[in-house]
Symmetry: C2
């Protein structure tokens, strides 16, 4: 592409409505423009990147045996009523009416539509498994769209849906898709982790999110330093500390701790480490009369090490604990347990007590005395207080052993760019999508779904790859692979001929080249644009170099430029580009 | 692609909700499925065709120097208010509100959005001309969606918009786009005509529609048998008949024609040819007090040959005639002209009379006597009635001379698949899209727009190319180029090996091959599917042929199959496919 026939549209100023770096750089590099809240136009440079991501996604979906289809953006309400989601889905589902006043929505996802297609087209087990995908415009009416295309209202998504006779077949396709997703993110060139994710209320056994690691990510990912284990922090199992519990050496004493109500305050007051204290949280237990009668629910004590954080997701899944998790009102605690929340502890606790694995491993610890302004020190399980039920109650922290027994956990932030999910029969049962099995018996289909945030990948790649000068594209998705920057092209015939010749030769070989041929552009401005655009390779061609038979080359990640012999230039460039 | 891993989804029955053949065949061939009124899912076979059309369109747009962008489907009302179309556009513009109750619409077209982009990004004449295009999902809330994807509500369109400093530059790009459109339809392999079209109320000087010729088309296209002239019938100029007007030989007589009020009735009653009669239509003239006072508008008589049809578009553009055209109320005709509409004629007509070119060429003709139940015969211009103003008032008919003087006009029906349009400054002026010219002076941009109905092309191609057995794809957009049909593949190792080998070899060379490898499919059913799907080339491989060293080949348009030597099969096939 010739810059003179292209729209570079770079901007020097950082737009003040853009918070995250990818949003700033996508605006500055002329990739996108805001049309309205959460709605963006993709300018030529942005679209070139988006299309490269799309192509990789399509190639790997095809390779994985998925069949491409396209479903409408606008979907009739009827189908969503069949699945029950017309009522359940929040206002992110933009509900509209057509000119005849019939209800429709703008599709944020297509489970209902594909299930409708499949129940009409697939009727025998012989046609299974099937896996359909599309790369398509989605709409989600975010209450507060932000971060540019990272959390836009209109966005491009690859969504796939597979259908099976049984869960074994689903597991097979799920594994194939897991591998395909890894290939996609490998090919794009991102540092990512497939992480175990919450299956939410659907209760499927398996779900993985694919996260691009980046400081600006909204999720905390725990992953092993030595194995492939990775999970959302909320889901990572906190294993019991290794070895036996140490034997206590101190005796239990009640100490006066006037006004000290937090772990931090008590630890400082007693000059001890919070990791040697215990905190006790009181939540509501399951209410025999149902969740409406929560003021009659029994209380349950959760006991954790002082430096650990409660994982509410883990706690609320435990038998005997009400979900979603509710902390007990202070009034009930005072009335039933006889003290304030700052002085609770397991010794003499009158209600069911669940102890976290790490807390259960302590000896000679400090805890509240269940009497205001008093704590115990030198407490030991068994001797001073019975150790009953032990569970995993806490969030993992960096340095914890990896739950698979290999290595330690590290924690980084991640941007979710993919999600694969075993849906089971949620949609197929509600919408009566069945096939006849080998015995001619009707079977409800089993379903998986697999999403990739195609437009979000573009932003995530920038979050992970940028510097002060601009974007640093992974080669596979760069808008251009190479920029040719001439010095005074409009004055020097030699420079012009050399640049034109190289440009045409590489272009004809299928290289994405940008020739900076604006007649009067300044060298500094051109180089700044090339860096801002994140083009992986660039050369500068000028009279002075040509006289010496050299041109200047610089890779986008290189600290210094180097000189290449002009005679071997094309050969060397093709090799660098990996062509 | 292997049929066993694909979704063929053909149907034997003609769906009873499909009227036109393309809709029927797209459903029967498993290309599309209806989701709701005017909303279709593209199944794998349909999408393969759609993608091939898209690719050709993109390649030619790129070649024409247009830059690809993508604009949002959902557009804010503000921009449409700026252009004035929020009020003007009918209910085809689906207006919606988001969760914050802000007004938006689903874009049926993107003039406003691109003009907004351009007024922000382009500010100097040096950046001009520019031409942006997108291939994108559009929504038009048709009151009665019909004919499948031909007139759907959600559809795929290629829309391009160019911006210029002046009309000369616009004309240049317009010509480039005209040529690009011709290349697109040539490459797809359609019989089409670029036709002069109405510029409507915008008043641009140039507009062409691109029509695929097909009996089921909704538009009548007039085109020359000998030149490239083509125009919408409504716009084709009806030239004056060649030569001098014949000299009259009969004398004018008033004859009694009781109850004969139409050309057909009078002609039969007087045993004459309607082509020798004249009909007189009374319309409203331009009203000096403005269009609201139409009951005070003067009357104007339009005179045509009895066998010709009035062209309202031509008439309403004439000075002195009110537009849009309105026929005079019968009461005013009776009151002011003294007779009913069945007895009007130019002889003694008291109001301004405009005579069509062909009517002006008649001699010895019949016309109403401006007295109920009476007509004149043997009337001649000049002698019996003054011949004043002569204009082109009628629709052309087949056999008329071509207006460019070369050949005669033929009339066929066409399906509009493209439209190019010189918009002028309608949007750029309303939205204040300006640049600085060479003298630093602000200039309002001049704009062109260029549309292609990408999904409609798929249907139009079928309307033009089908037979009783199904679709006959032009090679360039066929879902598969070749089908390999084995006989008893599951029983014969030789057949299976031969088929697999050929399939893999051709696939690896980039040929779109469909291997019919469903183990127990019957030969007849497979061949019927291959014909219905419209695959241009197919071979049948069976033991009996292989023993003789031959396989059976049939092109989709061939009447008979032929035998190819197995030894040269791949070579011959590659040649036929044009690979």
């Amino acid at each position: 592409m010739r810059a003179s026939l292209y729209l570079i549209a770079t901007q020097k100023e950082t737009p003040n409505d853009a918070v995250v770096i990818s949003h700033q750089l996508m605006l500055r590099a002329g990739m996108i423009r805001r049309l309205s809240s959460g709605l963006y136009t993709w300018l030529p440079t942005g679209l070139r990147v988006l299309r490269k991501v799309e192509r990789i996604v399509r190639e790997e979906m095809d390779r994985a045996g998925a069949l491409e289809v396209v479903m409408p953006v606008v979907q009739p309400a009827e189908l969503w009523e069949e699945s029950g989601r017309w009522q359940q889905y929040g206002p992110e589902l933009l509900r509209i009416k057509d000119r005849h006043d019939n209800p429709f929505c703008l599709g944020p996802t297509h489970e209902e539509v594909i299930t409708d297609v499949v129940r009409n087209e697939i009727n025998s087990y012989k046609q299974l498994p099937v896996n359909f995908y599309q790369v398509q415009t989605k709409f989600r009416d975010e209450i507060r769209p932000r971060f540019g295309v990272m959390r836009a209202r209109e966005f491009t998504m690859k969504d796939a849906y597979s259908f099976h006779l049984n869960v074994d077949s689903l597991q097979e396709t799920y594994d194939v898709m897991h591998a395909a997703y890894c290939r996609i993110f490998d090919r794009i060139g991102l540092d990512y982790r497939p992480v175990l994710a919450d299956t939410g209320s659907i209760g499927g056994s398996h779900s993985h999110e694919f996260h691009v690691l980046a400081e600006s990510g909204e999720d905390d990912i725990a992953f092993s330093t030595e194995s492939r284990y990775a999970a959302n922090v909320e889901l990572a199992e906190a294993t019991a500390p290794a070895g036996e519990r140490p034997t206590g050496t101190r005796s239990m004493e009640e100490v006066h701790t006037p006004g000290q109500k937090t772990i931090a305050a008590v630890s400082e007051f007693l000059r001890s480490d919070p990791a040697h204290s215990i905190k006790t949280l009181i939540v509501l237990g399951e209410c025999p009369e149902g969740p409406e009668e929560s003021d009659r629910a029994p209380l349950v004590a959760l006991v954790l090490r002082g430096d650990h954080a409660l994982n509410e997701l883990k706690a609320e899944k435990l038998p005997g604990v009400a979900g979603p998790l509710q902390f007990a009102p202070e009034a009930r605690i005072a009335e039933e347990l006889g003290c304030g929340v700052g002085s609770l502890g397991p010794v003499g606790m009158k209600i069911e007590t669940i102890v976290d694995r790490s807390a259960a491993h302590l000896a000679d610890f400090i805890c509240g005395a269940n009497r205001d302004d008093y704590h115990y020190t030198g407490v030991n399980w068994g001797r001073d207080v019975e150790l009953g039920r032990i569970e995993d109650l806490r969030n993992v922290v960096a340095g914890d052993p990896s739950p698979d027994g290999r290595g330690q956990l590290e924690i980084k932030r991640g941007i979710e760019v993919g999600h694969i999910f075993q849906l089971g029969d949620k949609y197929s049962r509600a919408m009566n999508a069945t096939v006849l099995d080998e015995n001619g018996k009707e079977q409800v289909l089993v379903m998986g779904c697999y999403g990739i945030g195609v437009s979000r990948i573009v932003a995530a790649a920038i979050e992970q790859n940028h510097d002060d000068a601009g974007i640093i594209w992974p080669d596979a998705i760069a808008p251009f692979q190479l920029a040719i920057v001439p010095i005074n092209m409009h004055k020097s015939d030699v420079v012009r001929e050399k640049c034109e010749h190289l440009y045409e030769s590489l272009r004809d070989k299928g290289v994405d080249v940008l020739l900076m041929d604006e007649p009067k552009a300044r060298l500094g401005a051109m180089l700044a644009d090339v860096e801002l655009l994140g083009i992986p390779h660039r050369i500068v061609i000028g009279d002075r170099g040509l006289e010496k038979g050299v041109v200047e080359y610089k890779g986008r990640r290189d600290a210094e430029s180097q000189e290449f012999a002009e005679s071997q230039l094309e050969e060397v460039l093709l090799k660098l580009i990996g062509h």
